[in-house]
């Protein structure tokens, strides 16, 4: 059966995640086993179980309470899950004392279960390891999906359901708690630890917000005071650029806009440069100039569709915004953003920008539908 043997995960996320199971052996000690299995659940209830189950009834969250798991214990197998070493040790200590006589198996990180068994005064009798997954592993989904799905060894928590829950939480259709329950309930045995599901799910939701926008400076024209502090900060931050800023405040079309390089995904300036002076930083996805290879041909100036390459007549070199990449790598915002006194400029990571825009779109849409405001 080994329904807990192939749980996948890292040392970190499997730590303090334990499943216990009790069963009688057919034809050996099945007589009177129902009461013993009941006692197993009663003792478990005293040690903060995060889930429990009776194969004949279902898990704790479907049944509704530990008491309701009692119906139909005949010929069943019972389970209880814990999320701390202290609770497991307490439970095993009590079981040892109660001496029920049914077999008990503990699943978890092998070194942690060994330690806990010893603390409870128990000697390990038999152990079981997994040798991993063989065969057509290309048919399997991403590891993070399997870390949740394999918590139910019977495969009742489908890969697609995990994916669906990530999507539902990301879009606000379900709360994290609701999605956690949706993934906990299908496992009849009650061995899925909802606290671990929640942690893993939360991580997946955070990772699922895909950056649709690359790093750039966002601008709110209504807050711009036309003070040029951003330009000054830029010059200060780039002492080798002959006092030319690479962000340009322009109000010629009405509202003041601070123009910045857009760090194009397919950057024409980079393609145009014949000497390899223009590069993309793989970590921050920023287009920057290394400087020493510029021959002053100005092909990049012609190639840029936004006029954001600055030609330095005095130095005979082209310059462009590098988003203050050294500052970014230190975890700071670009100099222009830091220098803006009114908050008109902002620099957020991709996911944040993406979220902000979505929220704005939602607000605008809701405001336009009178009936939505009453909901």
């Amino acid at each position: 059966m080994s329904h807990t043997n192939h749980r996948q995960g890292t040392r970190e996320n499997l730590s303090n995640c334990f499943v216990t199971i009790a069963m009688a052996s057919q034809g050996i000690n099945t007589a009177g086993a129902s009461q013993k299995l009941q006692q197993f659940l009663d003792i478990a209830a005293r040690h903060n179980p995060v889930n429990a189950g009776n194969m004949k009834v279902g898990n704790l969250y479907v049944a509704g309470s530990m008491e309701k798991l009692s119906a139909g214990m005949e010929g069943s197998i019972v389970q209880a899950a814990f999320n701390s070493e202290d609770d497991l040790v307490g439970f095993l200590t009590d079981l040892n004392e109660a001496d029920l006589g049914v077999s008990v198996v503990v699943t978890g990180l092998m070194d942690e279960t060994k330690k806990c068994s010893e603390k409870a005064g128990l000697h390990r009798h038999t152990v079981e390891y997994s040798l991993g997954v063989f065969g057509k592993t290309e048919r399997l989904p991403d590891k993070s999906i399997m870390e949740i799905s394999t918590m139910c060894g019977h495969g009742q928590v489908s890969f697609n359901l995990v994916q669906r829950m990530v999507k539902d939480v990301t879009r606000g259709v379900l709360t994290l708690d609701e999605a956690t329950m949706t993934l906990t309930k299908p496992c009849i045995c009650g061995i899925v630890d909802p606290t671990r599901v929640r942690r893993l799910l939360e991580k997946m939701v955070a990772a699922s917000i895909k950056p649709a926008l690359h790093n750039y400076i966002a601008m709110d024209p209504s807050k711009c005071d036309k003070c040029y502090a951003c330009e000054v900060a830029c010059v200060e931050a780039h002492p080798n650029n002959s006092s030319q800023p690479m962000c340009i405040v322009d109000a010629s079309m009405g509202p003041a806009i601070s123009l910045h390089c857009l760090h194009c995904a397919s950057a024409p300036c980079m393609k145009a440069c014949p000497t390899g002076n223009i590069l993309r930083d793989p970590e921050k996805d920023v287009i920057y100039m290394r400087g020493d290879r510029c021959i002053g041909c100005k092909l990049c100036v012609s190639a840029c569709p936004f006029g954001m390459i600055v030609w330095d007549e005095k130095g005979g070199q082209a310059h462009k915004c590098d988003l203050c990449i050294d500052r970014l790598k230190e975890g700071e915002v670009p100099a222009c953003v830091a220098g803006c006194p009114t908050g008109a400029l902002s620099s957020a990571d991709n996911a944040e920008q993406f979220k902000k825009r979505r929220t704005l779109a939602l607000q605008t849409t809701l405001a336009a539908i009178p009936s939505a405001q009453e909901m």
Binding site: I28, V106, R124, E128, K136, G155, S158
Partner: protein
């Protein structure tokens, strides 16, 4: 499992629950349908209680299709072994049965796990490899009841195309045979159209050490897992065959 076309509203809420991804929207219709060839009769969709119109229903299952339910729905007891779930006690009661003794290991090949499902013809392929090595296949395992010949691992012909969520080929081996078995499993892994997970069971020596931990399986690409199961020896009466071998101090 089936969907009553006259009741289904096409809301598709049942779709993600299916472990086999066998439920899908019918193209150009407001309707979901189950691919019966892929459905393993696990009952997950029905138990999820997401069908507001009551369109999902369990049709009567006849031989050999009924095997899908017994191997896929944990609530269904295997009539051959009397054990619900996948139908084997393996190491969970080893303190009482003494099934796996000193110098021996228990091994199990769980076809279809994780989350992929397996046709019984693929289960047979693994059973045949195990049988060809002369390894004793566990008699109290429901898969064994499908065999016409335990010595060759041959299955009944009428069950071969049935699909199940998982089926376990379980056998005993001597400790020194493990690397060779793992190498053979690595070979048969290329011939099956699914995945399988492998278990390795070992008695703990009286001094607390675990014999299988000394084997070099990492060089075969199969290191021991960090997660695992431990029978803590609380079952009574103790297995007679292990008397004096295991630590009985409590």
């Amino acid at each position: 499992m089936r969907i009553d076309e006259t009741k289904c509203t096409g809301c598709l809420k049942c779709v993600p629950y299916c472990p086999m991804a066998a439920i899908a929207k019918v193209p150009n219709r407001r309707l979901a349908a189950i691919d019966e060839d892929e459905c393993v009769e696990c009952g997950v969709c029905l138990r999820a209680e997401v069908c507001a119109s009551g369109a999902l229903y369990q049709q009567p299952l006849e031989w050999p299709r009924v095997l899908r339910a017994t191997f896929s729905d944990p609530r269904v007891e295997h009539k051959d072994t009397g054990v619900p779930g996948r139908g084997t006690e393996e190491m969970k009661t080893n303190d009482v049965t003494g099934r796996f003794g000193p110098g021996h290991v228990g091994m199990a090949v769980e076809l279809g796990r994780p989350g992929t499902g397996a046709r019984l013809y693929d289960v047979e392929k693994v059973a045949k490899v195990v049988a060809s090595m002369g390894l004793p296949i566990e008699p109290k395992n429901p898969v064994t009841f499908l065999m016409t010949d335990v010595k060759t691992g041959k299955f009944r012909d009428d069950v071969l195309n049935e699909k199940v969520l998982s089926a376990i080929v379980e056998f005993d081996a001597e400790l020194h045979q493990v690397p060779e078995i793992v190498a053979r499993l690595n070979e048969v892994a290329k011939e099956v159209d699914t995945v399988f997970s492998v278990d390795l069971i070992s008695l703990v020596d009286p001094d607390g050490t675990v014999p299988v931990e000394k084997l070099d399986l990492a060089s075969l690409g199969r290191p021991l897992s960090i997660n695992g199961k431990t029978n803590v020896g609380l079952g009574r009466p103790k297995a007679k065959s292990l008397e004096g071998y295991v630590n009985e101090s409590h």
